[in-house]
């Protein structure tokens, strides 16, 4: 049990996200989308290169999000978290789609 937190915004902790798509697939309003690609990394001493998923972009459409918190609850890597933040007024509909650069809200501490 954690203490109730304000339902303000969902922040993405980019380094924790593995692009597993769980949040995208479970979101009832279809408001999350992401782009990723695979890369091979060779580590010294490893017999063969490892394939890792690299996140290119991650978007939440706050025009559709209903703040249900399902994505935050289901992310296996704790890459999404509630963060109190104000000022989500937008000039237009498209401006409510927050991309990876905006999803740490400029208040990221991690």
């Amino acid at each position: 049990m954690t203490a109730p937190t304000p339902h303000h915004f969902i922040a993405l902790i980019e380094d924790a996200c593995t692009s597993c798509l769980i949040c995208v697939q479970e979101c009832p309003t279809w408001c999350i989308s992401l782009d990723s690609h695979h890369e091979e990394v060779s580590e010294p001493g490893a017999r063969r290169p490892r394939t890792v998923s690299v996140l290119d972009d991650f978007r939440i459409d706050y025009g559709l999000c209903m703040y249900c918190g399902i994505c935050v609850d289901l992310c296996p890597f704790d890459a999404l978290e509630w963060r109190p933040r104000v000022g989500y007024q937008a000039e237009g509909r498209d401006d409510l789609v927050h991309d990876i650069a905006r999803l740490d809200g400029g208040t990221s501490d991690g």
Partner: protein
Amino acid sequence: MIADDMLEVAVAEWAEAAREARDGGLPFLELLTVVDRGDELDVVARMSDASGRLSLGLMTRVAADAPRIESLAAVLPAASWHEREVAEMFGVVFDGHPDPRPLLLRGTAGAPPLRRGTPLAVRLERAWPGEVEPASRRRSRQQLPPGVRPEWLPGGSA
């Protein structure tokens, strides 16, 4: 707990049950809505006392193919807007409603939007962002995206 104090009544006794609750000290209508169960619709109302501490749920069932029930507007004027909303969202006809105009929508063309069988057009037009395999390779309904019901799809069944 809502489940503990939900009183189920016959459709014919719906308005009478609301009148009894009103006269028995629960004069405020907090909610009137419908839950779509498939073959039947649950019509649900909740009434409370002045303090808001005591409340009672009333519930009855109507057939989903021709849902009809007596309006509570004569007993509880506050029911009027709730019933207009339920009428347009779920297609329920309220007999004796004093003002059965749509409340929020201009018209639903016989497809009440909150009924489970009414396809949500945007779910069929838009590509699901969670797609990893072509839709044709999905095998079971468990693999349908959230918010898409099998009966909306070509050849689907309820």
